[in-house]
């Protein structure tokens, strides 16, 4: 039985002291241990940037891929071995900027994986530029007069385009984040966790305090129904999208069971031999 220790690695994480990503890492380690997952049966695929480093700091198999390309790599892994727990992790620049195309399609396919986006409303590792989730008017090195763009609304996008589990968490609340991760991993289908993970070095606007003041926590709402799509969209609209908890959940067929060539056993475990009569049938199809 794996313990928390098995999801830790010896190298120290290189994030800035106080970075929200430390909480994301700790929550994922705790959630994985709590669920009794073996680290060798888990793959963490990440993009690049500060958020991308998480795969190196986590004790499972990992793939630190390319900027914005987390989801297709994770899709390739998951479809070829659906016995693995596949978690994809990225940032708001990585996932909602360069990677938003892949995001849309992973949603509608309902790939059975969990996607954690560490959303700090800024580009960190490239030292503080405006990101796709930066608010209108946000000042940075690349928008000194204030951003003239509306932010991307990833959570609403996910709900509308077919994610079957949509949640937001906050690095200031490790307990809630851990619980949400457990639910997301347990959920069969595509789970999005948009994790508010403040950048203490470059984002002086959306700080821990700012989130604490603005967050609307669904865990405190007794009669909230996460299966009601319109209620989910309304609550996000009413609270400027700064809502934590499980926002939306539905049951839908997962891609690896519905796709062409679907098999009960994972692809990686299939026998590769072609029998003589099978070869003959192939030849006949060419005559």
């Amino acid at each position: 039985m794996a313990t928390l220790k098995d999801f830790r690695v010896s190298e120290k994480a290189t994030w800035c002291p106080g970075c929200g990503h430390f909480t994301v890492l700790a929550a994922l380690q705790a959630a994985s241990a709590n669920l009794g997952i073996e680290p060798y049966n888990m793959v963490l695929v990440s993009g690049i940037g500060c958020s991308g480093k998480i795969s190196q700091h986590f004790g499972s198999y990992g793939f630190h891929s390319l900027h914005g390309r987390t989801l297709p790599v994770a899709t390739g892994v998951q479809l070829n071995n659906h016995d693995l727990v596949v978690v994809a992790a990225g940032g708001d620049g990585d996932g909602y900027g360069i990677g938003i195309g892949h995001f849309m399609h992973a949603l509608r396919r309902n790939i059975d994986m969990t996607y954690i986006v560490m959303d700090n409303h800024i580009y960190g590792l490239t030292t503080g530029q405006t990101s796709p989730t930066s608010h209108r008017g946000f000042k940075s090195k690349t928008s000194p007069a204030g951003s003239a763009e509306e932010p991307v609304r990833p959570v609403q996008t996910a709900i509308i385009n077919g994610a079957s589990f949509v949640a937001q968490a906050f690095s200031g609340d490790v307990k809630q984040m851990t619980r949400i991760m457990e639910e997301a991993i347990r959920h069969k289908g595509f789970s999005l966790i948009n994790a508010f993970s403040p950048c203490v070095t470059f984002n002086k606007v959306n700080t821990y305090d700012w989130f604490k003041e603005n967050i609307y926590n669904l865990d405190e709402i007794i009669d909230y129904d996460p299966t009601d799509k319109f209620a989910a969209l309304r609550v996000l609209e009413d609270h400027g999208s700064v809502v934590t908890g499980v926002i939306y959940q539905e049951e839908r067929p997962v891609y690896h069971e519905a796709m062409i060539g679907a098999t009960k056993d994972p692809t990686v475990k299939l026998d590769l031999t072609l029998q003589a009569e099978e070869i003959e049938a192939i030849k006949n199809s060419l005559r």
């Binding site: 049966n41 390309r69 390739g76 479809l79 990686v268 005559r287």
Partner: protein, 590 residues
Amino acid sequence: MKKGVNNLKDLKWKVGGAQGEGIDSTGEIFAITLNRMGYYLFAYRHFMSLIKGGHTNYKVRIASQPVHYHGDDLDILLAFDQRTIDENFHELKDGSILIYDSSKLKEAKIPDQGKKVNVCPIPIYDIAQQLGNSIMKNMVAAGASCAAVGLEPSVFHEVIEGIFQKKGENIINANKEAIKKGYDYYKENFNFKLELPEKTGKPNKNLFMTGNEGIGLGALTAGCRFLAAYPITPATEIMYNALAHFPRFGGKIIQAEDEIAACLMAIGGNYAGVRSMTSTSGPGLSLMMEALGLAGISETPLVIVDVQRGGPATGLPTKTEQSDLNEMIYGSHGEIPRIVITPTTAEEAFYYIQHAFNLAEKYQCPVIVGTDMFMGMSKKSISDLDFGKIKINRDEIISDEELQKIEKGMFKRYNLETKTGISPRSIPGQKNGRYVALGNEHEETGYEIEDPETRVKMMDKRMRKLKHFDPSEIGIYFSGEDQFDILLIGFGSTFAQIDEAYQELKEKGEKVAHLQVKVVYPFPRKIVGEQIQKAAKVFVVDHNATGQLRQLIQKEVGYHEKLTSILKYDGNPFSVREIVNGVLGKGVNA
């Protein structure tokens, strides 16, 4: 009317008309029938980037031995419209036959090119209408064709029954009737007949396959069970082939949102331990460049098939070219080990894609298989395919036992203690095999680094992997005497036309040799160098505008003054004539 009978070694037949009128079906029915009879065929499809209208044609060369090219000239042209006559008449030989549909084209304009062509107007469309459905004009045309080559209409029956089996007896009989009507009309009105060459194959034995099908079936045989691709002409047929065959064996196909995703999904599949590939054409390959580098630095096996077409950008999407050579060899920023294979024929595509999977896993690097539209979409008769010839080799995956011997958590995926540069990889799910595959420079366990010493060691490790790979062990083609004056060099599918040009030049008394490169990277420097050294003059046949193979030879081997390019970049395959003329100094298009 005069009777003309030619004794030909081969016979070339072409049907043409507007797109969307069933031209391809007419060609296919004719070709499949003759292939089943035991003739050796090569069928080439000419088409345009539109759905209805324009001009399309389907050419079949029928021979008594395997052929890899549809030939420069033409014996029978079956034209459904004036445009077909205008665009193809120049191919017709003296004594050839032109059949055209006189239903709508009352007075066809026959070009005067100073050659004797037997013109046969047949009201094909009207005959089909009388039978109750104009769609059957293709069958009427097939019937007329079989009369022109001296076959009986019954040879088509089996193919017709197969095609229309689901539609019932009435449809089958109507189609048989249409063939008979076309046949009878020709027999009653014309008596020119061209003889088919000798039939040497056994009935129902020869396979009839495109290069794209060769790739799909070869991949399946190699144990590939995952294809991620995005639709693109002329590579989409690889997807179709996989869709037809993979699922029976648990193989999976995903239509990705773009080629970037397709390539990365294939990388993910390979990382997870399943032989995975992506297939594309030039524009898609361009989008895959960063992913190519990722496979290289993370040492993840990857197989990419590039069915080349006319570039750049959207270029000539339905025409053939070999202009991605530089991109296949040099593409992606930074430096990675890679192998680029260019099979010469459809059957070689079947075998070489299997080598590609073995090499990708052995050297843990990307392998690009470069074909082109000419080879990918043309169909040819093949005596047989040996599904057991190339064994699946997955030796570079570490065993569970070996992983157990390693101290817990100490598996070095990128172990530097390796003479060959190859370090065994683990597959997720294996205990104690944890590592992180990285697009960043890294140390042995897969943790990113930036120190100069480790960087150089890791770079050297990767680059060492192919030091002992001998490209000629996969294959290189040479034909010629020990001594020769002229050497012809090409890569990939130009093999066919160069081979015929070589035969012709030999008959003319030239001392000539032919070298075809099948692995273009790493380049088979030694063999190519040795042969060039012997020649007085070397002609490099390049299906592109800048002589990419010639430049590669000059870079890898030298001999700058000896090499002359024979180039073509108008979208059509090389003709034998163009190569012969290029050698004899008449200019490529003389």
